[in-house]
Amino acid sequence: MAWTKNVLRVNLEAGTCTTEPLNLQWAQDYLGQRGLATKYLVSEIDPKVDPFSPKNKLIFVTGPLTGTMAATGGRYSVVTKGPLTGAIACSNSGGYFGAELKFAGWDMVIFEGASPKPVYLLINDGQAELVDASHLWGKTVWETEEIIKTQLQDPQIRVASIGRAGENRVLYAAIVNDLHRAAGRSGVGAVMGSKSLKAVAVRGTRTDAYAPANPEAFFAATEAGKKVLAANGVTGQGLPTYGTQVLMNVINELGALPTRNHREVQFEGAHDISGEAMHEKRPTDGKTNLVTNGACFGCTIACGRISRMDPGHFSVKDKPQYHGASGGVEYEAAWALGAANGVNDLEALTYANFLCNEDGFDPITFGATVGAAMELYEMGVLTEQEVGFKLPFGSTEAMVKLAELTARGEGFGKVMGLGSKRLCTKYGHPELSMTVKSQEFPAYDGRALQGMGLAYATNNRGACHLRGYMVSPEVLGIPVKMEPQATEGKPAMLKAFQDLTAVVDSAGICLFTTFAWGLQDIQPQIQAACEGDWSEERLLLVGERIWNLEREFNLAAGFTKKDDNLPPRLLKEPAQTGPQKGAVSKLDVMLPEYYQLRGWTPEGVPTAETRKRLGV
């Protein structure tokens, strides 16, 4: 069976670790990972709970394909009620941690309560214990991993931890595993910090915990899947060579690259911070920013960027700890740290990205918040006195300084740690926060790409690109080409993408496979791994069920139709340049149709019939 059927429940208040059997009916209804943990969370917490209350829970969860030879089968998710949004939060990460949890024999770890003192959870196969982490509190993610490995004399242990951002409850703090892979968005790391849980360290050596239900069919299906990934232009060529950064110039030329807090849709410095630029030799030291590409566990795509900075760059000149190779910028991070605030210095972006990994915070929300703060500064609302230094658009020094301050929770970094919604509200201009449900947009303009605008507005975890990637049809022509400005057919396509994505996120594999894989490629792998009949129809129903369960949680938490909205800038201020010039979001045209297709009332509430059909 592809599930280990074991759940580890950790009560941080009592300091106890107990084992319980996985609810197999829920596994059949929600598959695993995102879906399954959401079902547990929704069943166990009050949707109105304060995210930082000990009554909120934090779940680390794997999927049935995690820790298997299915390509990209190494994913895990962290599910909780998020402090940035107040909505369901579910952040997905790669690296090696998720598979190790499975090797140790666990599908899921549920943390409840809050520890009276800093602790970390140590899992050694079936043994789990809470260990004092007083000596780790105040340490970065990088230091924490090194100290744990050294103290336990086990270099093969895998660690997921929070840095100072999570400890300081930066509202978009991440949980970082394997030094540079992150459950990045919605502030799951801050919830971990609120529970005084510094890290989870796992070593898994069991051979009897799980196995595919039908090995022969499993290898046939996974090998076929790998061939499809290798033959595809995006997953076989584009992503290994340029990473997600393959998009920077493409999106800019399309006029869909939000620039300077979404005031513009094209960035004159796009090439300087692109995937292509990472391959170019620096004039300063003759070396390239990119050292190599790297893979997460089981991944045959290998889109990860491993970068090395110019040691002479002003940001790291006297800091040798940043002179080695580490996780480089992906597209979303390069956009947020660069275009969103007008900075075109690739080395500075790389340094800020290192800091995001080192101290565990989300570069998307951070960079977008820098952009919002810069706009307030240029308007004269934020002053040099308040910030401590000048903060104009395009200031590399200011962006870098803010990254350092935010990680440490010092000075203006404290305000930065609130995210743009609270920052802009504090200074009287909530409309300048480029967010949905208080979470910042990623790197695609919701005016320029109508489907992405709808995706942002309806996303259960606030604005994000990973729950219905309409860039695929609107830019890449996958699975069909849709014109960026068209609205026709977009709600239906988005619904299909959202439901399929929920399946992928619940299976243990990476969403990036879907550049090449359709459900027809994924279904045989799940079918061979799991007991039971997992037809394509059933999987899509599982995806739809997950989407609606998340929606019900948000509605119960107090969200309404008015939260399925975009900032006025996207609805009223037309794009000024490029192929999408003149565009504003036509959300009002698409949203009613989307609700209807979802089987929701005009107020965005699932009808009794929909609830019955999905069993939510």
Partner: protein
């Protein structure tokens, strides 16, 4: 023709498909802790290096074994651990200069790469060609070709 595993770190991405394939082949489990091939990450250098037994011609593990539990497979050239004979004394793990023969506590025996009887699962699973199974006499052929390509034999372009 004798073949040998050829490891090319420049092509390795650290995906660990090889480790899972090895563990599955020998333990019917994907748990990489049981793999006989390991990929090492040198994070600050941005390098991933696969490493396993190179099947020494003069195999010190085989010489050191007091019970003759390590034998030569004449077809593949692999040095193979005979599990029923192995007494788990671990002397071979001391004798091996490279660390590629290791004790398995759960079985009480040692394990090392046996080339899967001539069809190494790691090479089959590697998606980038970092692990290949090639003519043992010509493991340098790829590098030779690479350097050969850099020689300029066309004077017109000088």
């Amino acid at each position: 023709m004798q073949k040998s595993l050829h490891l090319d770190p420049n092509k390795c991405t650290g995906c660990l498909q090889c480790e899972m394939a090895c563990a599955w082949e020998n333990h019917r489990s994907f748990t990489i802790a049981k793999s006989r091939i390991k990929v090492f990450t040198f994070h600050h250098e941005g390098r991933f290096v696969p490493y396993t037994c190179t099947q020494c011609d003069e195999a010190w593990c085989m010489t050191a074994c007091p019970v003759d539990a390590i034998r030569l497979d004449p077809v593949t050239g692999a040095k193979i651990v005979l599990e029923p004979t192995c007494v788990g004394c671990k002397v071979c793990t001391i004798a091996c200069p490279f660390g590629t023969i290791n004790y398995v506590a759960s079985t009480g025996k040692v394990q090392k790469c046996d080339l899967c009887g001539g069809e190494p699962a790691c090479a089959k699973a590697c998606p980038t060609g970092a692990i290949t199974y090639v003519d043992a006499d010509w493991t340098g052929l790829g590098k030779m070709r690479q350097w050969a390509g850099k020689t300029d034999t066309n004077p017109a372009t000088v």
